[in-house]
Amino acid sequence: MNGLPWTQHLILLPILLPLLAGAALIPVNEARHGLKFAVNLVCNLILLACALTLFRFADGGHWPDGLGVYLAANWQAPFGIVLLVDRLSALLLLLTALLSLAVLVFSYRGWSRIGVHFHSLFLFLLTGINGAFLTNDLFNLFVFFEVMLAASYGLVLHGYNTTRIRAGMQYIAINLVASLLFLIGLALIYATTGTLNMADLGPRVAALAADDLALLQIGTVILALAFLTKGAMWPLGFWLPTTYAAASPPVAAMLVLMTKVGVYAIVRVWPLAFSAGPAAGFGLEALYWGGIATIVFGSLGILASEEAGRVAGYGAIISSGTLLAIVGFGGPALLGVGLYYLLGSTLAMAAFLLLVGLTERIRTPGAALLALTMEAFAIEEKPDEPVGVGIPAAMAFLGLAFAASALVITGMPPLSGFVAKFSLFHVLLSVDGPVPWTAWTLIVLILCAGLAAIISLMRFGVRTFWAAGAVQPPSLQLSEAAPISLLLGLCVAMTILAAPLLDYLQRTADMLAQPTRYVERVLGETAVPAPGSMR
């Protein structure tokens, strides 16, 4: 212990703290809801502080190359499990901490009380997500994926009803199969390279013989199938809209983050494994086309959806598809902007899903059905008084928040969605010589997807907020309005601070493009000598 500065142990905190706190909360009686909530909240605040500290360390020159390496149980790489913080994982830890804080506060009033063990499951979910962002070992990644998924199975079913059970069964079955694929891929990678350490993988892949390399490529493709099932690439993402629509709003907001974990795993593993040697750039083209197909599928789906949960689900699919196409297109400049897009779309989508939970409340029972029937029979009914007069503050808040999240999701000015798309197009078009047709395809599809999202969200907005006569002022609690304001406030902050943030993300992407630095740092980290051996 003496040899290691205490700051290094901070790397372990985002995994250990929620795990222990979640376990400690299991025996506590559900009746003591306030206590459970308080423990969870304190835990989330500590995680936020920890994520902020790691964020500063990763970019502030605290560690060489901005890479913090933690040798678990003091085993030197590649023999032990290595935890690693770089700019990307620090950023995603911060995103997780902010999002989970907002979701937790939102669920305080009602959602956390409709079933048992919400807080324990929530904390275990955080353990899994944080662990997946921090680990540098493929098998450890599998374990954290399973922790995350097991907690999410419980959370999707939270508030047990028939819809959730039906959606949950399919969600669980698909993810169990995906986990098996994960294991097969893992086993093939271990069989060919003899290592599971991601940093150790790169040099070994580059040195493989041709027939072993083919086997390894099969292994990584099977592994990628498991990641892409989480990331909802077409045709692996059919589970997503049903699950989003069935899950309770806070859980659905956390699920948005989980799809990003799948994309993260690709971004993390691929450059380390396939940046040098004969297999450099392997599979990127498939990823690009998969992303394109996902955008098309998501756009068609969002146009066809009536229900808000499904609209959000297809929105998440579009955002996943855009990210995958960006990763597949390649290049650090594009990846940096892609990460900016990831942040904005995750925050806005989570805010939208939380809002959906509140808008259910303004519809009197049957109003939604009535609106549908009226449209089906083309009944035109003039409202008696102009809509909009005397809208209470709660309605104004909901409307404004809806508009803001819709602006980010569709990529309209002035919020961060526009900055993200504009920068994307700028990077795609600023090449020497003629712009490749793949870039044009991507631009056109992103624009079309944006248009589809606008149409779908406007339809939802008009029906919800302008549905004449059916609007009833909802009772809005501060604990429900504040988290949504926080998430949307972050989107606004991202817009204002776009330049420094994009600089940071550029450094992140540049670092990801230099896997040799990772290899040097991870394999070069020496174990701390045991106290007895220090003479």
Partner: protein
């Protein structure tokens, strides 16, 4: 021996795939279990096939790696078995819950018209 192992894994996995595509939840869970057996065997075999070799040594001095089986794949398969067991048990609970709430054991939660 390789052929026997490979064929048995293939049969297990193939039967599993057929079963998870069936409409009854019981068939799905049996399929998932068969597939996980196949995968566990596969992970185990990734450390190569050995006969009568220990995965670890307690002797002093530098051991000859060729005299020992690969311990990593055995450790991996142990973890995979435990996790697979836990998630399958979880699925079983939800299966029973679904049967209770929907009154049918169809995977969609409702009977399709014959």
């Amino acid at each position: 021996m390789e052929a026997v192992i490979a064929i048995s894994m293939g049969v297990l996995f193939g039967s599993g795939i057929w079963l998870i595509l069936r409409p009854r939840t019981f068939q799905v869970i049996v399929g998932l279990m068969l597939m996980s057996y196949a995968v566990n065997l596969f992970i185990f075999m990734v450390g190569r096939l050995w006969v009568d070799k220990a995965p670890l040594t307690l002797q002093a001095g530098t051991p000859q790696p060729g005299d020992y089986a690969d311990p990593v794949s055995q450790a991996l398969v142990l973890t995979a078995i435990v996790i697979g067991f836990a998630t399958t048990a979880l699925y079983l609970v939800i299966m029973i819950g679904a049967r209770g709430l929907t009154g049918t054991d169809h995977v969609d939660g409702e009977e399709t018209d014959e």
